[in-house]
């Protein structure tokens, strides 16, 4: 039974063997280490790069444009912030070239807190990532999803970002649907076959298990747990936290439905709608900082499209908007959601008095036709604006 790190490794091997992956690269990705989380050990195409994140993203883009199929790694997402404009470029290249140049590359990076990683090994990236159109973005919460979605990423003709919850890199399957098809049941056997030995690794070759090329489609959430009182929409590390809390709350009479979104773009709006309609109460849960959080976007859509069906206002439980995740346990736990804080958020949502009401029976506002011509000549307006503020930009 594989860990997420092993699942990533096996998926990358399948990518090399069956999906035309040409390169798996990044800092310490190649031998001898095979990744700081060991997720790239034993791969034929793995190689080490200079310590240069911009170079890594740029190289991946160039390889993709040249017809290769690269998978690059940013060692921790905290170090991807200086690549933002390259990520933007990657996301807009197909669009800007009117369909000439797609960029088939996969970027994977560990994200989030939970390993006492202090300021630069604890940050989340889903807030940033979902602000960059043109990328597909996924965040698995278990080995099966990591394996299946990484396969899908490597087969996709677009740039795909695979955000890996670093606190779960050693996590194994906890349910039958989290088991990778074809993997050995015995974790010890799998370790022996695909984990690089301690010490001299020269000449070591992994004995890959015969796993299946079984992809998981993007844009499909998984309902981890059905419930009737409220909905929790989450992903990554907090999916497992939410499950444990929900199990505990069953004894207290609260029935929570837990949705693991898995794919952040495209995302499964239908799943959110169906569950929210059923429960009328929804909590969006993630660990990125709360201001302009991805969950806020989902709340906005709930308000726009489901307002009349909500019993209470939709809520967000996310990281505090503080500059970093502190090293001390007290600080870390005060920065990102914990089991206790998730429990509190769920209980508060469950107990919140119902304030929503159906808008469907309310009288509609009837808009009158304007009595004066309010048509604006956009071209004229544009010209007047441009004449006042000459375009600057970053052209030199």
């Amino acid at each position: 039974m594989a860990t997420i790190a092993q699942a990533v490794r096996m998926a990358l091997h399948m990518g090399e063997a069956h999906l035309g992956v040409t390169d798996v690269f990044g800092e310490d990705v190649g031998p001898p280490l095979g990744g700081v989380f060991t997720a790239t050990q034993g791969l034929k195409t793995a190689w080490n790069t200079p310590l240069d994140e911009r170079g890594i993203i740029g190289a991946a883009m160039g390889l993709a444009l040249a017809g290769c199929n690269p998978v690059c790694e940013i060692q921790f997402c905290d170090y991807a912030f200086n690549t933002i404009d390259l990520l933007k470029l990657c996301g807009n290249t197909f669009w800007a070239s009117a369909g000439q140049w797609n960029v088939p590359m996969t970027m994977m990076t560990p994200v989030g807190a939970g390993i006492h990683g202090s300021l630069y090994h604890s940050h989340s990236f889903d807030g940033q990532a979902t602000r960059i159109p043109g990328w597909k973005i996924v965040m698995p919460s278990n080995p099966r999803d990591a394996y299946g979605m990484l396969l899908t990423a490597m087969a996709d003709p677009n740039p795909v970002m695979v955000l890996l919850p670093k606190a779960l890199m050693r996590a194994k399957a906890e349910a039958p649907y989290e088991v990778i098809p074809g993997e050995p049941d015995d974790a010890r056997e799998l370790r022996k076959r695909i984990d690089a030995p301690i010490g001299d690794r020269t000449g070591w070759v992994p004995d890959w298990p015969d796993t299946e090329l079984d992809m998981i489609a993007f844009g499909k959430a998984r309902t981890l747990r059905e419930g009737t009182d409220l909905t929790v929409v989450t992903y990554g590390r907090l999916a497992r936290v939410a499950m444990r809390v929900a199990d505990q709350l069953t004894d207290e009479g609260i029935s929570a439905e837990i949705i693991d979104l898995r794919s952040l773009h495209p995302y499964d709006w239908d799943a959110i709608v169906a569950s929210t309609r059923k429960t009328g109460r929804v909590l969006f849960l993630n660990e990125d900082t709360e201001v302009t959080n991805f969950g806020e976007h989902l709340i906005r859509r709930c308000c726009d499209e489901l307002f009349g069906e909500l019993r209470v206002a939709p809520r967000l439980h996310a990281g505090e908007h503080v500059p970093g995740v502190g090293l001390a346990e007290t600080l870390e736990y005060a920065s990102v959601p914990t089991a206790d804080s998730v429990r509190k958020a769920i209980v508060e949502l469950a107990e919140a008095p119902e304030v929503g009401r159906s808008m469907r029976d309310q009288p509609r506002i009837v808009r009158r036709q304007p009595t004066i011509d309010v048509t604006i000549d956009a071209r004229e307006l544009q010209a007047s604006v441009l004449s006042e503020y000459a375009f600057g930009g970053r052209h030199r």
């Binding site: 911009r54 740029g58 197909f94 797609n102």
Partner: protein, 348 residues
Amino acid sequence: MTDMTPHVSPEERPSPRGSTAQLPREELIRIHDLMIEGRLLEERLIRMQRQGEAYFWIGGPGEEAFNTCLGLLADKGQGLDHDYFHLHYRSSATLLALGGKSIDALRQMHNTVTDPHSRGRNFCGHFSVREWNLVPITSPIEVQYSVAIGTGLAQARQGGKGITIVQGGDAGSAEGDFASCLVWASRPMQPLPMLIIVANNQWGISTAASGQHGEKYISDRGKAFGMKTMTCNGNDPETAYFAIQEAMDYVRTERRPLVLECFLSRLYGHSSSSGANYVEEEPDCIKLIADKLDQRGWRSHEETKKLTEAKEAEMTEWYKQVLTEPKPDASEVHMFTFAERNHVGGEA
């Protein structure tokens, strides 16, 4: 106070390489033809902006000599066996030399749906031609130096004669991507067949390079990485031609990187945001080549004038044509956000 002193004074700039070497008449005439069209194109684009037929102009008047030669000497085609181009938005003369059409550049300027480079989505000079390995040109002035690493890597593995050509300006070389390019191109385990070009016009918008760059020649930075480096006078097409040819031959055969810094003029300022007025003080490559051709008896000034007028008439017809062409429909805004097929991977 803006420092107006050139970073590298005219006396310190490289003397024309092979100044005694001459191109055959036919080749120099061909270059002249393309340079004239390139200049007329840029001047037409500037007028379109002034007339309210486009929002913004930026381009490369002053770079025609060097860029025309670059386009003529490159190996145009699709795939790893041909050259990859990571150019900047002053590269219109390169596009024309490769076989691109002025009318398509006019279409991009007027953001029509017929613009084959971006379908009305991008500024002028932001070309993209997949059939010729011309990677989309971007507004950020440095990112091409990072992206070029990847095509260089693919071509290093492929072998053969295909190389990666990346071009930016002196101001852009201050960005980290230029350093990334030098580091990755010269990795001992896999040097890359990259021609790294710095088109040095001594300006970054309104800021003189002399106040910002301590290095005498930007190309000298390549020496720290064991790279061969060259400088050339980019205002003279023959000098530029032989320098580019020498640089390309080295990269193609040795499969190693080379930094080529060319000194050239910026003749209409940074962009329409700075007025786009002709700069009298800087050498004009169009005038220089016209004088040269006249002196050699290969093409008189009178012949140049007639040719220019004929080409201008042609440009006017293209311009009129473009004004009749439609803009993209608003419904297209979501088009090409995601690809359904792997076009660059060869899927039809």
